[in-house]
């Protein structure tokens, strides 16, 4: 009797689960082959109302900061989530009674070509028009591509990439200055996140990169290039986040302080 019950239970469980399993195999076959008709309604409704980016008010008693560029501009790695943009805003806010607004439209992993398309967008152009202070951090991802290469990259490769970058940067600066003549623009230099492990040739590329950028920007009176290489050279342990590439909150604070010193309000 006891065995009979076990047998019935065993048979029941296995028949039910066999049916369930076969059904879900058919479903997974459908999913992997892309014919998900019955799941159409669960397709992500990601067309949620586009967040209208706080288009900054143009009145004179607010001070608008715009942050453009890559992950460094975004503030990736900062546990407090501030990035240097908001750090500066906080310090400035303590000094003036103006309302300070930060608009961060940086994109992680962006390169100069990407930034060029972004600033041609209508929203970005509007944001540039009303900004008093613009931060640009770009080029790090392009320069990094040579660091991760195991074999030494040929100097012509570096040259073409650098020229591309410089042309893009020039275009970006032209767009920004043509849209807004009065704003101050701060370009952030590259630092070396690899410490001693970096190859001498790659270090030279990095320095050259910074130098060429500074040279490009020097004719503009309202643009300033702020180096970060020296900040990070002896402080990598203190300033780098867990990923050993982006700055942490201390690192961003250091960058912000440096920029504040340059701006001298």
């Amino acid at each position: 009797m006891y065995k009979k019950i076990i047998w019935n239970v065993v048979l029941g469980i296995s028949i039910i689960s066999a049916i369930v399993f076969s059904a879900s195999i058919i479903i997974s076959a459908k999913i992997t082959n892309g014919s998900n008709i019955e799941n159409q309604e669960t397709k992500p409704e990601n067309n949620e109302p586009k967040e209208s980016k706080s288009i900054l008010s143009e009145n004179s008693d607010s001070y608008n900061i715009l942050v453009l560029g890559d992950s460094l501009a975004k503030g990736t790695g900062d546990e407090t989530g501030l990035g240097f943009g908001k750090n500066i805003a906080n310090s400035l806010g303590a000094k003036t009674n103006k309302k300070i607004e930060v608009n961060n439209i940086a994109v992680n992993g962006d390169v100069s070509a990407g930034l060029l398309t972004i600033i041609h967008e209508e929203e970005s152009l509007k944001a540039i028009e009303v900004s008093n202070l613009i931060f640009i951090s770009i080029g790090g991802n392009e320069a990094k591509a040579f660091q991760s290469n195991k074999n030494l990259s040929s100097s012509t490769d570096v040259k073409t990439a650098q020229n591309n970058y410089l042309n893009n940067l020039k275009e970006i600066i032209n767009v920004v200055t043509s849209k807004n003549k009065n704003c101050r623009v701060v370009a952030i230099g590259l630092y070396n996140p690899f410490g001693e492990e970096i190859k001498q040739d790659n270090l030279e590329i990095l320095h050259d990169w910074n130098y060429k950028t500074e040279q490009l920007l020097s004719p503009y009176s309202n643009i300033v290039f702020v180096p970060t290489y020296d900040l990070f050279k002896y402080n990598l342990d203190k300033y780098l986040a867990q990923d050993n590439f982006h700055p942490n909150s201390e690192g961003y604070k250091a960058i912000a302080n440096r920029i504040l010193e340059v701006l001298k309000y």
Binding site: W7, P44, T80, V107, E121
Partner: protein
């Protein structure tokens, strides 16, 4: 063929009796109990280890950012969401992100939003994640080994213990005896998969306290010419995902059971049968690493066992392998081993 002759109700009942007899034999050998024991011990160990690892990570995080008192994952998740939204908005305006990745980005946002809404740290282990992970990790070696323990001696055991004489002298055709044995191991395999799921769910719920069964996940990625194609990505819940993955595990285990059944018919000693199966399974993982350029390798059953990786859209090891391909290869292996076993068993001379 006698085998395909339509079975009358009486014969079906007759066959059921035979199957019951076989299942009872397997149950009496206490193999299922042994397997349950192995599963329970291993799953508990894994779950404990996972929990330990998680606590360690959190510890390290809080220590390294001593200036921020508690480690703020919510900030990180919010930042990730805003990044993804930026990307989504941007791809509306320009075509610089492909349309295909849009739906997967949407699901990713939804997933992160779920973490925020329910106040769950994304790296917290939960029962759903653990249950799915366990299947993903054990589908190509651990579970097949358990299946071999179950089914390796189903026929050869009769030879080893000389009971084959008693079995064949009954007034039942040989193919029926073999069919009942085959169905019995299919039943046992199914039971084992269900048992794995149940033990995983119980142990991980006890250890992690969180279910996470209603967490949305993205599935349906495809790898097309070395690129991830996300155009058909859909959103499902973790519990649906778990059922899908366990069903794929089920079909893989049936393939292993069928092949091991064939081996058990071909060899007359249980030890040899289990040894042959183990060797062929382990060969599979070797082949994957050393001979992945050789096109014939992809027709080997052990390489196609890992079906669940297709749902996640992880990289294909050997070019030309896809979900359909693997399913077809496994089915062909199942059919071939059945044909071989029935042919051999019904025609061979049994000398005891």
């Amino acid at each position: 063929m006698k085998l395909f002759r339509s079975l009358s109700l009486k014969e079906v009942l007759n066959l059921l009796k035979l199957i019951e007899n076989e299942v009872t034999k397997i149950l009496l050998k206490k193999k299922l109990l042994l397997i349950s024991g192995i599963l329970l011990v291993l799953i508990s160990l894994f779950a404990y280890g996972e929990n330990y690892k998680y606590n360690n990570t959190v510890d390290r995080f809080t220590k390294s950012n001593s200036q921020t008192q508690s480690y703020d994952w919510q900030g990180l998740v919010k930042q990730q969401i805003s990044d993804l939204k930026d990307r989504l908005n941007r791809s509306d305006n320009t075509n610089f992100n492909k349309n295909s990745s849009k739906s997967s980005t949407g699901i990713e946002i939804e997933r992160l939003q779920y973490y925020l809404d329910n106040n769950i740290n994304p790296i917290t282990p939960n029962a759903a994640k653990f249950t799915i992970n366990f299947m993903n990790q054990s589908i190509f070696l651990f579970l097949p080994l358990l299946v071999i323990i179950l089914s390796g001696d189903i026929v050869s055991g009769e030879f080893s213990s000389k009971t084959i004489k008693l079995l064949l002298t009954r007034a039942v055709p040989r193919w029926k005896i073999l069919l009942s044995k085959y169905i019995a191991i299919i039943i046992m395999t199914t039971l084992m998969i269900v048992e794995t799921a149940v033990i995983c769910i119980m142990v991980s719920t006890i250890i992690f306290h969180t279910g996470g069964w209603f967490e949305p996940v993205a599935t349906g990625f495809k790898v097309v010419s070395e690129k991830l194609d996300a155009s058909n990505v859909i959103k499902i819940y973790q519990w649906q995902n778990a059922i899908l993955i366990y069903s794929l595990g089920w079909i893989s285990m049936i393939a292993v059971a069928s092949i091991s059944f064939m081996v058990s018919v071909l060899v007359r000693s249980t030890a040899t049968s289990i040894g042959v199966m183990m060797a062929s399974l382990i060969t599979g993982s070797f082949l994957q690493f050393f001979l992945s350029d050789w096109p014939l390798v992809k027709y080997y059953f052990a390489i196609n066992l890992n079906l669940s990786k297709y749902l996640k859209g992880s990289y294909e090891i050997i070019p030309g392998m896809s979900f359909n391909f693997s399913i077809i290869v496994l089915c062909v292996w199942i059919c071939l081993s059945l044909i071989v076993s029935f042919r051999v068993f019904t025609t061979q001379d049994v000398l005891v």
